[in-house]
Amino acid sequence: MSGAVVEPIPPGTAGEIGRRARDWIPAIVVFTLGIGLWQGLTTLFDVETFLLPKPSDIATSFWDDKAALWDAAVYTFKEAAGGFAIGSGLGILAALLLARFRVIGAGLLPIAIAANAVPIIAFAPITNNWFGLLNPVSKMAIAAVLCFFPTMINTMRGLTSVHPSSIELMRSYAGGEFAIFRRVRLPSALPFMFTGLKVAAVLSMIGAIVGEYFGGPTNALGVSILNDSQLFNFPRAWAGIGLASAFGIAFYGAVALVEHFTTGWAPSARSFRSE
């Protein structure tokens, strides 16, 4: 063969990583500048520390109370994780069912779209009444419902957005519905499923915390943040929020990591996605 266009590449070249590190430099610069500016401005102009306390105050606040805050964060994270597991699991199951039995799926789709627009968190008082204010399950339920829809919708989209030629190809091999499902729809649905899971990961944490705003035990992060706000202890409230953010990002990152290892093959997975 004269002049191969592409050399046989061993998969997983390291060249990509170096390039990406350089891409991150502007972001790191901005971060450092941002924190520096924040600290500088609040110190120089003695800005009312109430709404935007100095980063140093927040850090001190966190350090003083790190044990209590960390425990609260873990408690709330467990609610989020539990809700994520239940909600996403059911969402994937529902997607598999609805993709298999398209008729029901078509009928339920408008309902699902409408349900997605409902403020689920407004149901927190009701779940509190069902399971008890102090019971973590009441917040887990909210998180679960929040996770259900994005996961189900995205997974369904993946299962049904297969290139028609792929289906024709499988038919040319005398493949039946099950073979098509197993060999084509499932693998191509994985990237979509992970998009949904990433959204769900973020939503689960938000759902747990905001659910706690409607009432919960004092050792929960949301309750702690709310109390601190109402007592005008903003540094500690921000410390709590920072922690909640960190857990949310870590959760998202964990899902993204799993995504990378299972679907590293997807070219689109390597480009920027937003949901």
């Binding site: 972001a27 009928g107 779209i113 627009a117 403020p119 929020i241 937003s274």
Partner: protein, 296 residues
């Protein structure tokens, strides 16, 4: 695939007939599904009450009122001798809607403007985009209490803080999706514009923005829902009485006495969320003249 020749008038009439039949079937399926859900609710309630099962939660008229009781609650007076519940609820819904709308419009405008700036400066994009993306994982709703309580103590009216919250929730999806849309332009279309010596302004408004409209509408659909949620949540910690959030807090306190009122409030919340979403979807269909992609 063999390409179909242009449809004749009789074929077009046939197409429209088919479309009408499809719409009718769809409407019928929705009614059927709703009826099935109604049946599921009442069936579950009946079964759990008869057998006395307590998992996952105890079922009685307080935890799961009859659906017809919830519907009936709209006609009951909320306060002794006062108007039927539906009136104060609709007033509250209107109040919350205005907050959400104000925030939605503000956030969309800022998000759009930011995206335009980032689309034109690779450096700014590299510097700011990671934070914009990462901030989507910040529990923004978690800041709600602080913003509303804090600003409230400074004399800022409650509804303004809530609107700011809604704007915050709208701003990020709009910025990201608009940016994506602005950059999604076909390289060849860009070259065409350059061959006309089109100014950056022209390229932006005649090419990039129209090309990014589908992406923008995807974000607007998400943001519509998020604004409503943000408005309701923002009202709750500060107990802004006039809105739906305040209504939830109120009726939550009297839940054991009148459970149906809280449920009725939630129905109105759901209706508000769905209406906002529907408004955006309809606008999208009018602007883009095609069915919106099905899911946010």
């Amino acid at each position: 695939m063999a390409q179909v020749a242009a449809a004749s008038p009789s074929e077009e009439r046939r197409h429209r007939g088919v479309a009408r039949r499809v719409a009718a079937t769809r409407a019928a399926t929705i009614v059927l599904v709703l009826a099935a859900l109604w049946g599921l609710w009442e069936g579950y309630k009946w079964l759990w009450e008869t057998t006395g099962w307590t998992w996952p939660f105890v079922v009685d008229d307080t935890t799961m009122p009859h659906l017809h009781d919830i519907v009936g609650a709209f006609g009951d007076p909320a306060t002794a001798g006062g108007p039927a519940l539906i009136h104060p609820l609709l007033d509250a819904a209107w109040f919350t809607a205005k907050e959400a709308l104000a925030g939605f419009l503000l956030g969309a405008a800022i998000g759009f403007a930011l995206a335009v700036v980032l689309a034109h400066s690779r450096l700014l994009e590299r510097g700011l985009l990671p934070y914009i993306v990462a901030s989507q994982t910040v529990p923004i709703l978690a800041i709600a209490p602080m913003v509303v309580v804090g600003l409230g103590s400074k004399g800022v009216e409650g509804w303004k803080s809530v609107a700011i919250l809604a704007a915050y929730l709208t701003f990020f999806p709009v910025a990201i999706n608009t940016l994506r849309g602005l950059k999604s332009v076909d390289a060849r279309a860009l070259e065409l514009m350059h061959s006309y010596a089109a100014s950056r302004w022209h390229v932006l408004w005649r090419l990039r923005v129209p090309a990014s409209l589908p992406y923008i509408f995807v974000a607007l659909r998400i943001s519509a829902t998020a604004s409503v949620i943000g408005a309701i949540i923002g009202e709750t910690p500060a107990s802004i009485q006039e809105g739906l959030g305040g209504a939830i807090v109120n009726f939550n306190q009297y839940y054991s006495l009148q459970p149906t009122f809280l449920w009725a409030t939630n129905v109105i919340c759901a209706a508000l969320g769905i209406s906002f979403f529907a408004l955006v979807a309809i606008t999208e269909r009018l602007v883009l003249r095609r069915a919106p992609e099905n899911i946010a």
